[in-house]
Subunit: 345 residues, 3 copies
């Protein structure tokens, strides 16, 4: 944990001292991933007071904090492409890469090579994703055909964002209430990670603040670093930022799956996916109304298609509560195909 | 019932006397909704002679009568956009708004907050919708890429229409034969609504004729009324006409669901959706071959996407025979998003 | 069998002697269908040595041999449209036309008019199809919006092809291992078709070689024949080549279904579909890197949509392990709609 803060400090020094941008970029990227982990641990400890279901949601929400800051700073810097692809990249990384690895780990951990889990949450996640897909596909078609509605993209996005958040809220309310009884056995904390309440609360505050600062430096170093590395902004968003700011969820999901905790592993990943799609993204759309650069649900056609087909693939593969190894690898392959596209954009 | 005919007469007087168009538009809109109800009641009474399954289909078919007239008069007046969006609007209003409200009412009526119903009909409806989606998406892509086939849109639409109607016919044949035994208990008529056979038959004739006349006045008043109200034609089709001409199905479905008659409520809405998609729309495409303005399956890109995703959402949400409140609200939210698009077109 | 080879020889004579191209085209088309049958019979007999699961895969692979040759010769002749639509046509013919007929035959053979089969293979086929759809839709959107990635279509296609083949390999490995025990009872060979091992092996070699030669003549006669017949190249690929080179699988699947062997019939068709989508097509993309005309996953927008919706329709209709007659006819109707498009392209 000290290492993480050391990295965060190093990122700050590098940024202010005018170190090579690639170095600043790398250090602050790793520091971001570390801070996401710190926040996760702190949340777990704080959550002991409130019960596991609330903890789960807090964890997903605060675990998305670094991402939130990255997107906000990117928007402030006028980097709409980085902002958008960072959100989408987080979604794709969770839904395709991480879920794929979770399924592969889960199949390996199972005696007969088939991973089994409750299909309820995957089904719910699909329903939530469909709303985001509906909004984004319709807006994409409207912009693509340059019809009159496309000139009102900000207003339409704002209305859509409010509606999405209400659906997420209604879903979340029932999910939290229903998962109370069974959740206790499902969230066994590693004792090493448990912190005293005030320590955890302080850590949360410091972690959040650091995440905000490091995000700022990260975004400032992004542009020149990408130029030096000859990488496109879309690759940065879809792959680099996505993996940096979600690394912890990634590792924890795979570890849970390899220990045979199928349901919990699937729940961590699925909750993250639906939260990004119908809470984080809409919330950022609404927040951006206060900024000069607006975030809307208008995204590049390739990502519109990728989002719709990701929702479909998730539904088809996890909707039956069973997963085979080739299905896990199929999801990873989808992510790799997408990364190749982002690389060439 | 007298009130309905009074309204119809008022609509006629308003139309012929040159009343303000907005008034004519409002009165004839309400009269249309009333006439749909009259036709429904008359059909039920006539249907007592033929058994409930046939009644159900007659009801759906005749209940779509006002819609049929609206579309035909719109086509005759050269208002292709109003014609198309009226059909699509009826489909979306039933599939998203009404089904969403039905699910919400059904969940509220259920003891554990979960609405349950047979998944067979929802699955069938999805299959039928997929054919319409296939036709419409392919034609949309053909027109969008301006390939050679797009210049033959009338011929392609006609062939597609014939094929759709055959699929619907084969499905309907089996559905009617199979639903005979159980349907009796499922269609308890309110005694108050039962009429003597000749009265009912007469009412049907008068209702149908009135619907035709009122539709004519409705369409004539539409254009100037929309201008006065600053509303787009698409909003008129997707929202106003759709709700006016389907209001009765809407209310009856929600009432049935709130009484716990899940299967019947779902069946009324689903039958209406599939009939519009693979019978009414194709039949109007074929009928329009006799008119100077042709109706085809070429629709605006935004509605192509909305139709495909509506089919998907219906399948995903109702295909498992269970519905949760957030799913009902999700469908309503999809309709609201669509209405916002239509408003800005 | 002698007739088939006689036809093949006739095709050669016609081609070399400068007979009317339409005649050469017709004779070589029929000869190709016959050779596919010869190869199937020979494979079955060879396969007796290796067990039924391996035979099944060998059969699908070698049964696709004529198709492979047609596509390769079309590419060598620079006929990219014929090459692409031949692959797609084979896929659509199997997935829509043949599967539709299989379902109709299966329903007729069943006592209660409902065909039943294991839903596992249909689900797997859908998963495999989704990867192909993902690649093709994303590339289509990229090319459609002319974004930077679209200029790298060959590289992206090649990476995608490799990934698809790995997913297919992993799936196939498990499928072969798992299907060993039950397959024995499922593959009862007609004794008349069984040949001595060396005869079968020789027949396979001669059949394969003949298929290669006939494919060459077929492609050479294609262009002038189409001009004489006033048919588009896309119609040739989607309908004529597709039916000629898959006729045998078609007939055998329908025959199996009409004898009540639902699972085997579905397996023949489904295996063929997934093999074309995620093995044959990607393999041809990679092979074409050695030719001057490159095959990529860029296809016409209409076929992109048709492919995505075919995957969806297959999943929706066969994913539940039950089929009704209207579902079989719905698939056939989808194929007919597609054929109408191809006719007008």
């Amino acid at each position: 944990m000290a290492l993480v803060f050391a990295l965060a400090v190093a990122a700050g020094v590098a940024s202010l001292a005018g170190a090579p941008e690639v170095a600043t970029f790398a250090v602050s990227g790793i520091a971001l991933a570390g801070l996401a982990w710190v926040i996760t641990v702190a949340t777990e400890s704080v959550g002991d007071r409130f019960g596991p279901a609330i903890t789960g949601v807090m964890q997903a929400t605060l675990g998305n904090l670094p991402e939130l800051f990255v997107v906000l700073f990117a928007l402030r810097a006028g980097e709409v492409i980085v902002a958008e692809t960072s959100i989408l990249g987080s979604l794709f990384a969770n839904a395709l890469l991480v879920l794929g690895l979770v399924l592969l780990a889960g199949c390996r951990a199972s005696r007969d090579g088939v991973m089994r889990f409750h299909p309820r949450l995957p089904q719910d996640t699909t329903t939530l994703l469909i709303i985001a897909v509906f909004m984004i596909v319709l807006l994409g078609l409207s912009v693509g055909s340059a019809d009159p509605a496309s000139t009102h993209r900000v207003a339409i996005s704002a209305v859509g964002a409010v509606l999405m958040i209400t659906v997420y809220g209604i879903w979340l309310f029932r999910y939290l209430r229903e998962s109370r009884p069974t959740a206790e056995e499902e969230l066994p904390h590693a004792p090493a990670n448990r912190l005293a309440f005030p320590v955890a609360l302080g850590l949360l505050a410091v972690g959040g603040l650091s995440a905000a600062l490091v995000s700022d430096w990260f975004i400032a170093a992004l542009d020149p670093a990408l130029e030096t590395l000859h990488l496109s902004k879309q690759f940065a968003g879809i792959v680099i930022v996505a993996i940096a700011s979600n690394a912890v969820e990634h590792v924890s999901g795979v570890v849970l799956a390899s220990r045979g905790k199928s349901d919990l592993a699937v729940s961590v990943v699925k909750n993250s996916v639906s939260q990004i799609a119908v809470f984080l993204y809409p919330a950022l759309v609404l927040l951006s109304l206060l900024l000069s650069t607006r975030l809307t649900f208008v995204i590049q056609p390739v990502y519109v298609g990728a989002l719709a087909l990701t929702a479909l693939a998730l539904w088809q593969i996890t909707g039956d509560g069973e997963a085979y190894p080739f299905e896990g690898w199929a999801l990873v392959a989808l992510y790799l195909i997408l990364a190749v596209f982002a690389y060439f954009e």
